[in-house]
Amino acid sequence: MSTHFRIKPDLRAPAVAAALLLGACARQVHYEPMAVRADQAASTGPLSASLYLVGDAGDDSPGRAAVLGHLHADLARMESERPGVPVVVAFLGDNIYDVGAREDFKHEDFAHLEAQVGAIEASSVAHAVFLPGNHDWAKGARDATALTAVRIQERWLGEVAGPERASFRPADGCPGPAGMDLGADVRIVFIDTEWLLRRPVGTCGTVDDFYQALGDELEASADRRVILAAHHPMATGGPHGGNIGAFYNGPFVYYLAVQAGLSVQDIASGRYGDMLQGIRGAIGDSGVQPLAFVSGHDHSLQVIRMQGASNPGFQLVSGSGSKTSPTDRVDGTRFAAGSHGYMRIDFGPTDSRLTVFAQLGERASIRPVFSCTLVADDEASCPEARLAADR
């Protein structure tokens, strides 16, 4: 008998075929970039406020340098062209990769916050809001360790910038909701979805308490356009929605885990589904449909039209502040790109215009590639971009 493992020649062909079949890559949809001017919002009427959406910017990559550099330049342009217009820059979680803030590595981890806060210095009115993502919750660590990391980040943010320039919301490792007015017409409600997925034992109340408070917050904001901000999206065509290759993060194991919903970080998991149901319940009970649910988590840029009165009008995924991942078209997709970038929503007295900035191509610079008007209850608003013909 042979004393070594050898694959017999007749086994090689099926082995290769199986690998090719099962190792299919994640799907990537390609849209034609639109001809958009960075200051397009100025032509739609007087601007009352702007909201920038930057997600998952906690990795020190060339992509992040490009995103934060462009953000800095755009804020400078806004400062000169629209002085005094309120601006909020929402950093949508995973602000410090890979395991959040650690006292023992303060020099390294602190620099991530400094880089992101530094991008808003071009504007005298911009306020940065950091909300926590799963990596800020120490990426899969036990609750006690994770809560410590979140609280350290909140404290560090106070050291990087004063409360008038930056804030950490929701505070103290609790889920919120934490409301914030943006100008006279818009209210942003920040929630910590990682808390909802983990449900740590503590002093922040129960999950039911949270959904009750969220419904109350929405009801109280009925006279404004509401933006719900969180780390985890309600819909995505990215890896956390199941769009991954069989060899992503190792052969098959991660693929099977995502498809079967083993991790609470993936939409297919039971607890993620419960969370989405709870959020929809709060929206439905309040009767106030948010204009958009904005989030990161998947490292791409996606504009998705949502259906039904208990869903927000749009899901905006802006999670490519420092990393990228493929994204596919899902129900309601209006635009998607697996590229570095960020988004901006310009609010007029009655209209809300979204602009997506992306780095389409490795050596390309970041530029506006998609723009549309967001109206929660108008199906015709924000039509889908044209799919690239050569794909």
Partner: protein, 167 residues
């Protein structure tokens, strides 16, 4: 890859590679050889995935990395160890391993069919039922194959019990 993951992987490698490489027949006995070993590896992989799926979905998903690694690695080592433990008798080992492989196929089909036919199912629940069914099939067929190895006339092992899968 995070530090805890690397640490766990390192320890696992040391455990497996701590001794000098030994010939195949130290773990597999004739007539169970290369193909038989490959089936054992693949079956252990599927069994581990099924165990992790069952444990993960029981609580709505793993919240920590350690939970996922522990459940998957535990399942894999149990299945692999079970196969290797039969090395004293090659015929029985071969029968048990191939039976377990057959159980994976039968169990996964049964799990998928059950979940698809039972009320509302999602893509994720069908994947989960397939994996849990495969693990249950591997376990039941493997055990049955091992304890009935003397019965050489039985052409196809039959499961002595089944586990209902309902996600």
């Amino acid at each position: 890859m995070s530090r805890p993951t690397l640490r766990t992987a390192g320890i696992a490698c040391l455990l497996f590679m701590g001794s000098a490489p030994r010939p195949v027949d130290a773990q597999l006995s004739d007539p169970c050889s290369v193909e038989c070993g490959l089936v054992l590896g693949a079956t252990s992989f599927v069994f581990a995935s099924g165990v992790a799926t069952a444990l993960g979905r029981m609580n709505g998903g793993f919240t920590t990395t350690g939970q996922g690694i522990a459940s998957w690695t535990g399942g894999f080592l149990v299945a692999l160890g079970g196969g290797i433990a039969l090395a004293g008798n090659g015929a029985r080992q071969e029968r048990a391993i191939y039976s377990a492989g057959l159980g994976v196929a039968a169990g996964s089909l049964l799990g998928l069919a059950t979940e698809s036919l039972a009320g509302e199912s999602t893509t994720a629940s069908r994947w989960a039922a397939t994996l849990v069914g495969a693990a249950a099939g591997a376990l039941s067929f493997g055990v049955y194959g091992a304890i009935t190895w003397e019965d050489e006339d039985l052409p196809v092992p039959v499961a002595s019990f089944s586990i209902p899968v309902g996600f």
